[in-house]
Symmetry: D2
């Protein structure tokens, strides 16, 4: 891993030592399993998802493999078999357990996996006693990697529990109705040549956000806020799911095959629409942003409204002026929140829900795959996926950046995904 330091600098905040960061992020992972049993944490409900226990182990495997084994003299691996069991897709590191069978790993037990975390954490504390730029850079990657898995951990267990009719209790607390969002005016932006992306000189960024480069962005306008559940119900009432002309050809085929009639997790009961939030079933909030939709659905909705989705360049161009604040993981919301501010201008750009853009996930001009064992990172996924921007209520705040490019396949719905209209 000799080239890590070359490819980006550590983003350690001036006042937070790397060890403190490490402890903070690692503790966050353990907070996310609150309310889950060892049995829950074994669930794998589809090949795209992984068991909670696997996420806990895999993120520790990362530190063991890329930090402790090469850099901590005398380090003893916790269990050699874990190399095979908890590798994800790093082909260069060796064979790995087949992804769709992660749900069959009843052994090691949760207890052993937690012991593994402690084992790794203690060794990491030892390693981080002394300062080393290269090591700090690699730890920074490991922490961002763990934050990514924190989000997946939340979406994966949500999907798994949603399939068990017995698992989730119905909310019986009466809730005050949320405030109706203000108008959904469009904010106009003047186009031109714009510098986008980053060179990651002074802080961490993934390979795919690099390098900083110029793009010509024509004039455009963005809606102030995300599309709401109430608006989505209008789309459904207008037969949005039944009209092929609104859909991309691949999207229509998928919607028919999967029998999509509403966003994921929505269901109707007693003449009311319900959804799943955190570990409860709860009536749909009409004022909250629509969530758990595929790219295909987002695209069809935009077409229905005579609009389109923004490009990732428009999004980044527009977001540059804004504070990087929003409802992130730390806010404690398990679903995106209604836009309640009366102020004019863009809202919900950061946090709440990922925004599908119309930009396929492609390399930036001058993109280079970093060398070394961590090099397999993002470049090999640059086909058939779409860029999402802005983060969600399941994203750690520290993970987010203006230039952050998330990406998923157009048919995937289990992430906290929403849309903002553009013209």
């Amino acid at each position: 891993m000799p080239n890590i330091a070359a490819s980006f600098a550590s983003d350690a905040a001036p006042d937070e030592p790397i060890l403190a960061q490490y402890e903070r992020v690692r503790a966050q992972s353990m907070r996310l399993i609150k309310g889950l049993s060892a049995e829950d944490m074994m669930l794998q409900s589809m090949p795209d998802a992984s068991p909670t226990k696997w996420h806990l182990a895999h993120t520790s495997w990362f530190f063991e493999t890329f930090l402790l084994q090469p850099h901590l003299t005398g380090y003893q691996s916790f269990d050699d078999a874990y190399q095979y069991l908890f590798n994800s897709y790093y082909d260069t590191v060796g064979e790995r357990h087949p992804r769709p069978q992660r749900g069959l790993l009843s052994r090691p037990s949760l207890e052993e996996v937690i012991a593994y975390r402690h084992h790794v954490d203690e060794a990491m504390q030892q390693l981080l006693q002394t300062t080393d730029a290269e090591i700090e850079a690699a730890v920074t990657i490991g922490l961002h990697h763990e934050m990514q898995h924190q989000e997946l951990l939340q979406t994966d267990i949500k999907h798994a529990l949603s399939l068990n009719p017995y698992a989730l209790p119905t909310s019986n607390t009466t809730r005050a109705p949320s405030q109706t969002p203000d108008s959904a005016d469009f904010v106009e932006f003047e186009g031109g040549l714009s510098w986008l992306g980053t060179n990651a000189e002074s802080s961490f960024a993934y390979d795919c956000e690099q390098p900083r480069h110029q793009v010509f962005v024509p004039d455009f306008s963005l809606c102030e806020r995300l599309v709401t559940n109430a608006e989505w119900l209008e789309f459904m009432a207008d037969n949005g799911y039944q009209r092929p002309k609104l859909w991309l050809s691949d999207g229509w085929a998928t919607a028919q095959q999967e029998n999509w009639q509403a966003p994921l997790y929505w269901y109707q009961q007693d003449n009311q629409w319900w959804t799943i939030t955190g570990q409860q079933r709860r009536p749909l909030d009409p004022n909250a942003p629509v969530c758990h939709i595929s790219y295909y659905e987002a695209d069809a909705f935009a077409r229905w409204r005579g609009c389109r989705l923004p490009t990732e360049f428009e999004w980044e161009h527009a977001a540059r002026a804004m504070d990087l604040k929003g409802h992130f993981l730390e806010s404690g919301h398990s679903l995106p929140q209604p836009a309640t501010s009366e102020a004019k201008g863009l809202k919900q750009m950061f946090g709440d829900a990922w925004e599908w853009t119309q930009s396929p996930f492609s390399p930036y001009p001058g993109f280079k795959t970093p060398e070394g064992a961590l090099a397999e990172y993002n470049g090999k996924f640059m086909a058939n996926q779409w860029v999402l921007r802005g983060g969600s209520c399941a994203t750690a705040a520290q993970q987010m950046r203006l230039t952050y490019r998330n990406f998923f396949y157009a048919h995937q719905r289990w992430q906290f995904t929403s849309l903002r209209l553009a013209k």
Copy 2:
């Protein structure tokens, strides 16, 4: 359930009251989970199999549904949702949870399922304070049903753990080599008209074993013992898995598709063949009966040896004179044992391993589907399956009868299945 009493009598042994039987069988189920964690007991490795936890709950559901709810005044169900979750295939009783998703039931927890068992057991003790022929008959079915699930519980968890490379430790105890079996002489039987099956007048039997009827059985001979692992290795060495002319057409297609090269659970390491026994990996015992083979493999082996498989009528005809003794579940063996007796004559007819017969699972002449809620029992499976006879080391001794007909699809291998040659 008014017709149960009409269709068969209770097989309560003269000296064992029904409550004592109930407690004995139910306790046996709980003994089988020794060494398994709550996480292990959630595993479902294929649609054919069910999680251990599900078996524990479903067998209790049976007593709750067919005994307690209709017959115990004032009985309170443990949890109404269990009706849906733990129904297996009784269409008349209502909707049921989809079979391939049983592995997603992290909730209810193992703890809750065990509490469910206790709840049912306590109510059953109350119900069985008084004697009632109809109730005893239904309890008898429930106990035989539970014994069937005890066998499935063992084979299902064996399959699930086999897929986890980490789960099963390697045996490190040195074992004395088992004794080489004596000759494999054939015992000749004179044919003729034979009465087979049972009318279940004085003891319990399933619908498919009824009625007693006449069959003309030509002269035949059976091998004294089951085929051994050593003999199977000869078949493999003679390219048995590579010669289409030895195989049924469907069998050859399956073997190619599944890439069968040896019985299930066999693997080669350090120039030695290994297999899985109980919760360990252990070197193959050449003298033990071959086990975990499909009907297709059994049939190909027999053809290779210039023999054939017996019919179920030949088997029953030959077994009638024998004591119903053998290595059953209670013997504590986790694999079939070598035939070591020096006496001449049939061995291993009962226990050790199920014997594939060449008889498709068909209705006996005069077969009638019993009426009532328990009526869906076996008749609807009378297509595309084959009869196996004799029981295995995972079969409770009480479950076995001369007339017992087990049945599986020709491609299935995860049961304790073996073969005996016939001519």
Copy 3:
């Protein structure tokens, strides 16, 4: 092929020389393609079926491979590539073209295939100038083989044309309504030990019909005639296709997956049921036997009527006393005909439609696979298939025998299959 003569004698009729038989059967094949274009004859609508052109070529390949090449001195093959293209499943003869791709054989053209037939026919005429028992026996197999393919040719092209909405004109001739069948009384038969099957001593029979052996057949009764379309409409009106309790478990699963609501080829238009006959669409004749049903449907219907399907032993026992007469291929009917005779007793036992029996296709006691290149015949299909008896309107009369065992999978519907009730 040295053992053919040993395994059965020729069934040449006393007054029809083998060459005359050859010419008669071969000419029959060519008559069956009347009305079909070269394009029609290329169609393969499912892997189970083959193109007409392939049937014409494959039956010629049989004579070239098993008669001309080994026995006619100086024989020149028509085209060496045909060995590969037109082999069906004779593994011993070499590689073969993959079955599901037979529809891609636009080349050789129909014209070339017909030239191939002529080439083979001329050489066969030469070969059959002299008499030789072994050769006559092999030719006899070849002719029975060709008659089997004549039936498949008809059912395969019917299936293919049925899928083209444009292919089949609607009958516009007014037809007199057929006569309503008389009662459907049951004829009782006394059981007992019965000799069934044949040793093929004096005439041809397939391996699977051999040897003659004893079976104990209990008393039984058979319905005088086949089930009619009108009776099947009653089954449909009584929700026969919607009630799982009437169905075998595998049958119910298939019916749901394939969305069966009526027999194959039935469709409703203008408040009337239509079906396909020959090369036309025509209103359903309520008095004709139901046709194109699977074993699963036949079994469900019988259960609905409180009856069952006969065993093949009952069928053969009952048919023994009857003349081998009926509506076979030569009668020119493209669908089974109503039973119109006023006489009492069994009708439609031969011809009209194949009758599903409840007997799985299994080896008779003492069954031996014949040796030699033709040995792969029927034994390897003895799994998962059911015996059908009696022949159909697409069966050549000469092909039929009392002991003839046809066999298909339980889900297959494209043959001329029907049912007779038994008790």
Copy 4:
């Protein structure tokens, strides 16, 4: 269809009346079926492809549906059923025959389809006696549509015949070795803001090429010529197909699943590589451009060479200065030809083979779906496909434009696809 005239002008050459164009293009289609039988023209070897006969009918259906029926008074349709059979994907025009079953259309016969073409042609001659701008615009679309199908017709029948081991004779003419291409220097281009796309003001262009818009293109360089077969053999010799690190993740999965080891149609025989050209099998020409590769293979090759694929913007920017000349359909070559010119500079930009670009097929800024029945054209395919540029030896010269965007899925290989390296 009222808006067609509004959206683009006719591209009728100044000196070629629209009727002359019509006759020329229609005659070209008929020339392409030379050497094909009616049986060949029925072949459909995969869902992506269509039978030759279907292409001939569908292109006529287009003129009948969009020109004759709305515009020619008194026009009599040839056959009403053709509306259903030969619609492709125009949802607004009504139901259509399922695409994967096009190979089952033995009826109508080829003869009838050719009569259909004549019928349409005669009516079109009548319609085009008078001049009308709107009609000319629609005819122009129809002709471009037919030229697209001419290319598909060629690639589809090539694929179908390739699967028949008997269909294609081996070339037995000795061929002089082609000239080795000169160096493969890179030509450098200065970047900057570039105007790309077209507004289709003075000539025809598809919706997806519009509107003309500005893009910022960084400096780049392109290889003078396409990658050759000899270079591809080096990639194979260097284990290009076995090294996951060279591949996109989706590409690697596809390559494993499809067992790709070489471009489509390549096979090895007698220590030589062969491929298929036109209607022959012929030794591979090492100097000709590689052809029939997927996007995934093109991308892996470029990575192996330390290069990348060009964007479609780079390609268009570079091609703008060039004459629109090359080996198109009219040149009579059935495979791309070696680059033999000794001149420096870009070669093979037009014709020979389509060049995969790294640009996903996305809407241009300001893209608008045209209204009317022809509106379903290209917009709905803007997901998961990649842009290809430049045309091939199967593309009609008139079809090509600087701004033409062809598009296919990344896994597809049956088109004449190649690659040019970029840096």
